[in-house]
Amino acid sequence: MSDTAAAFKALNRDEMANRLAQDIPEGWYVNLGIGAPTKVADFIPADREVVIHSENGILGMGPAPAKDQVDPWIINAGKQHVTLKPGGSYFDHATSFAMIRGGHIDLCVLGAYEVAENGDIANWATSATESAPAVGGAMDLAAGAKRIWVLMQHTTKQGEARLVESCSYPLTAAGVVKRIYTDLAVIDVTEEGFSVVEMIPGLTREELQARSGARLRFDRLNTAG
């Protein structure tokens, strides 16, 4: 599929993270997956208190420190240096995953290879026979958080759909994704499948459907914004 003279401009990664960040209300406890989801923290409005959790035993994580202010003892799950906000706390791994698996995390934002229309997510291995797969905390987060939002490109670099009828990659968890933020749209996962709630300007329904591997519904599309 090629886009000749497209009338729309896909969001870049910062814009995607920013778009998602706007939907996180004050007071939520949020875990941000490794990679693109981590950027979401930078775009939460400054007047909104959101408490960021990290699997390795941190609640109340703050932004990356200035280079000369690094405390080597404070890293996030992606092993990047971070800071602790006033009100933050440290705890062990069992307690940290009790928070996750026990349903205390309001939102987890994950990247994904694929999301299926029933909410299945595949984000940890690209084939069933992959050598030395690494799962980390992805399955715990996907199964445990109150809600899972996915932040990902709408298609692969090769133009293949990531929104699919059924995942071809090994599952991370079944039926858990509630919402997907892509460079093209915001899509809810409903009992009737994918339901588009927002599209970037200039993109047509047909163009979005053409880039998706499962049927999209548009009856809940917010056309006001």
Binding site: H53, L59, G87, Y90, F97
Partner: protein, 226 residues
């Protein structure tokens, strides 16, 4: 701004429905959230299931709640203690259901509820009458009993210090069931002796991170009875 402090007992008790399962912290009189128990009585909620280590003493607090016939069922490890007169009367008259749970199993079932573990095997009570009717399994040559999690709709707990994020500390042996129950309920309400600024509690010494706390009310409750 996140602010979990509520200013009135009515706000602290908001939404506790008839039929709720209420976890009540404390061990003996240490760490027992007396003001919140009085608030629960005042709220009028009835047909409750109470989870607590003890079943109340004298005719105040938990015992008063029982005496007012607000409690349908109590789940505890040690109902019969010095002064548990109200409970014993009700129990003898068949006016209250009792589920006896070994103290460690009680703590673990609550922790399991907080940690998203619906069931676990434990060696405690294997081969005893408290395991009757329960699923058992021999693992590596030893018999274990399958126990289910014990989630609460509400937890009433007593803290020593609290900040506006709901981070809590406890005092000495007052931590007991409080820190466990804080994890195990949909709504966790804490009464705190002291209110402190955000950041005043050492991040290494937060006993209950605010994620487990729904509401906090400042109650300068003083010391436990000697």
């Amino acid at each position: 701004m996140i602010d979990k402090f509520v200013r009135s007992m009515a706000d602290a008790m908001e939404g506790i429905a008839d039929g709720s399962t209420v976890l009540v912290g404390g061990f003996g009189s240490v760490g027992q959230p007396d003001a919140l128990i009085d608030g629960l009585i005042e709220s009028g909620a009835k047909d409750l299931t109470i989870v607590a280590n003890n079943a109340g003493a004298g005719r105040v607090g938990l015992a008063k709640l029982l005496e007012l016939r607000r409690v349908r069922r109590i789940i505890c490890s040690f109902p019969r203690s010095a002064g548990s007169v109200v409970f014993e009367e009700l129990y003898a008259n068949g006016e209250i259901e009792l589920e006896i749970v070994p103290q460690g199993t009680l703590a673990e079932r609550l922790r399991a509820a907080g940690a998203g573990i619906p069931a676990f095997f434990t060696p405690t009570a294997a081969g005893t009458q408290l395991a009757e009717g329960k699923e058992t399994r021999v693992i590596d040559g030893r018999e274990y009993v399958l126990e289910k999690w014990l989630p609460g709709d509400v937890a009433l707990i007593e803290a020593w210090q609290a900040d506006r994020w709901g981070n809590l500390t406890y005092r000495s042996s007052g931590r007991n069931f409080n820190a466990v129950m804080a994890m195990a309920a949909t709504t966790t309400v804490a009464q705190t002796q002291h209110v402190v600024d955000l950041g005043a509690i050492d991040p290494e010494a937060v006993a209950t991170p605010g994620i487990f706390t729904s509401r906090v009310i400042h109650v300068p409750y003083g010391d436990p009875e000697i």
